[in-house]
């Protein structure tokens, strides 16, 4: 009786909708605990689940991990088969799979995170990373002592360009003399490349590096920490990305003194957006076909809040607030390309 899945689903779907609004997500290759957007999305889903007294599993909330590109569609379909009411595809890589499956499974509802799919049953959830990066750029431009700043990207793409461009704009806005050196690791998983690039950047006098390189960024942190241990007097910083990466910047000097080199992080609150959308959909307001852009205004983009703003001077904090205001008011439009 397995072949009759399609019919069964519709019945079950109807029943399900009455008791609980269940949600689930499919990760990209990064996995559910990538300390980045997958993890953040999962946190949002968990929060929603707890708030609504749901259990992990069918009929509640769940996630499926993809080991590679080919798994996205299988996982999405599995969730459709498990009758989840709202299915998130996390990461721009799932765009193709969602587009296709949404066309086939017209009764199911999907959300694509970080990309756009034009289908009536899909909501596209994107973020204004350029705005957050702009603020990070403001911080960097004001904090740098050497006027040399670095940007390390993962793989060149539209998405990462948004980070790069926004960051450079931010730096230039407050410190036209500062120079931003841009390098790409060619991968989101090559920590050795990240470390080597960081080594060359810090070696050339750069004192702040903003990374948008996922796992390759691990290498940036390790290089910065090691340089700090070697020479505790040197001021050098890393700006984290996606999540508050404060913890990743912890280190200990030879003398046993603890320090932290995460200047700030460009935080992208996927969790906020994911939960927000789930709540909306639950009450029947699923904005199918729309592209939702979450930014500073929606509290979904920004730099790491207190207490992890300890490295920022009051002056910097004021300036950041100032520019944030300008962006909100539309006085500044941060480019994406």
């Amino acid at each position: 009786g397995c072949g009759a899945g399609a019919d069964k689903k519709e019945e079950a779907g109807g029943k399900d909708a009455q008791d609980a609004f269940s949600i689930a997500m499919v990760t990209d290759e990064g996995g559910v605990d990538d300390k980045s957007f997958n993890q953040s999305a999962w946190e949002g889903i968990q929060e929603y689940g707890k708030a609504n007294d749901l259990e992990k599993g069918k009929g509640g909330y769940n996630y499926l991990q993809s080991a590679n590109d080919a798994d996205y569609a299988t996982n999405l379909n599995t969730l459709v088969r498990n009758d989840f009411d709202l299915i998130y595809g996390v990461g721009y890589k799932l765009q193709g799979a969602i587009d296709e499956i949404a066309g086939q499974q017209k009764n199911a509802h999907f959300v694509i995170v970080d990309s756009v799919v034009e289908q009536p049953n899909v909501v596209s959830l994107t973020f204004k990373e350029n705005e957050g990066s702009y603020l990070a750029g403001v911080v960097a431009g004001l904090t740098t002592k050497t006027n040399k700043i670095g940007f390390v990207g993962g793989i060149e793409s539209d998405l990462i360009t948004k980070f790069e461009v926004g960051f450079i704009e931010g730096v230039k806005a407050v410190n036209p003399n500062a120079n931003v050196d841009v390098q790409y690791a060619g991968s989101f998983t090559a920590a050795d490349k990240g470390k080597a690039i960081a080594s060359s950047m810090y070696g050339a006098g750069i004192d702040i590096i903003y990374h948008a390189a996922g796992g390759s960024g691990n290498g940036v942190f390790s290089e910065a920490i090691d340089l700090k241990v070697k020479n505790p007097d040197r001021e050098l910083w890393v700006i984290g990305v996606d999540k508050d990466q404060y913890e990743d910047g912890n280190g200990k000097t030879k003398a046993g003194e603890e320090f932290n080199i995460t200047l700030t992080s460009m935080v992208k609150r996927v969790d906020v957006a994911v939960k927000d959308l789930a709540e909306k959909a639950k009450t029947g307001e699923f904005p199918g076909g729309e592209v939702l852009e979450y930014g500073i205004e929606e509290d979904a983009i920004g730099i790491a809040p207190a207490p992890h703003d300890e490295h920022l001077s009051e002056e910097v904090k004021t300036k950041v607030a100032e520019y944030q205001e300008k962006i909100l008011k539309g006085e500044i439009v941060v480019p994406t390309k």
């Binding site: 397995c2 798994d71 299988t74 379909n77 599995t78 993962g154 793989i155 793409s157 360009t161």
Partner: protein
Amino acid sequence: MNLNRYMNLLIPIIAILLGLICGAIIMLVSGYNPIAGYSALWYGIFGDSYYIGETVRQITPYILSGLAVAFAFRTGLFNIGVEGQVLVGWLAAVWVGLAFELPMIIHLPLSIIVAALAGALWGFVPGFLKARFKVHEVIVSIMMNYIALYVTNAIIRDVITDNADKTDNILPTASLRSGFFENLTDFSRMHNGIFIAIIATIIMWFLLEKTTKGFELRAVGFNHDAAHYSGMKVNRNIILSMVISGAFAGLAGAMEGLGTFEFASVKSGFTGIGFDGIAVALIGGNTALGVIFGAVLFGGLKVGALNMPSEAGVPNELVEIVIALIIFFVAASYFIRLLLFRFKKEGK
């Protein structure tokens, strides 16, 4: 003779059983329910027409990458560069699929052929360097993998698209998608590529076992000197072997580009199809029929594994472990032979 045949069949079956038993023990020890785990696995492979379709979809490129590795092995070469050849084949297929407007009868074959040619070109480099400069094919192919990864990414980003992460979808005239299979399997991505994979298997078997060219390629693989002595062109055959192997790999890429995905995307790492192809070929004893067997086993387990975390809470890495153990047991068939031998003796 007869006994040998029976052994050759029995050994992989015993290897699979042993692998599964070890997997069950691991599940038990780490607090999972092996029965639930394996039923989830089973369901994920055969449970539903959708999953069967997906399994076939996964098997398709595995057959071709397995053939690529096996073909090279049979001719004395280790093509560890299948991964890179898959990538360039994938890109080439999509490129042709996007760039031309042609009737399907021309467009689809053209896309497939160009993919094979691209893979062949990528295989040509290590083949040529080995023939001409005696450079070890293993290093060159490892390097070619990385070059393929970065070059295809750059082409997708800067040449085919304007700094996008993926290309548009190919035109329907170049697609391997099959409405028939989609209906049959409830929207799985099973596509017509499976026919190409099967045809390629037959070609490999026929070419290697039945033709004079195959005779030459095998002779060169076993003994360069004797092949040279008997008037074969050794260098040309080395290159040809890598080219054919690369072409199979390019086809595997076309399966992904024209069938499963219908687009090419920027990749952060390797697809795994090429590296898994090594295991597929080796499980299959580097024969054409064996490759099919290996691909079915491998593709089935990989697709089924996706169902294990959600249905049974078992991490899908367990399947990776089981696959590894099966490969071990197949490799150490001497051990199984010994076991069987002892078993028989005691039985008497």
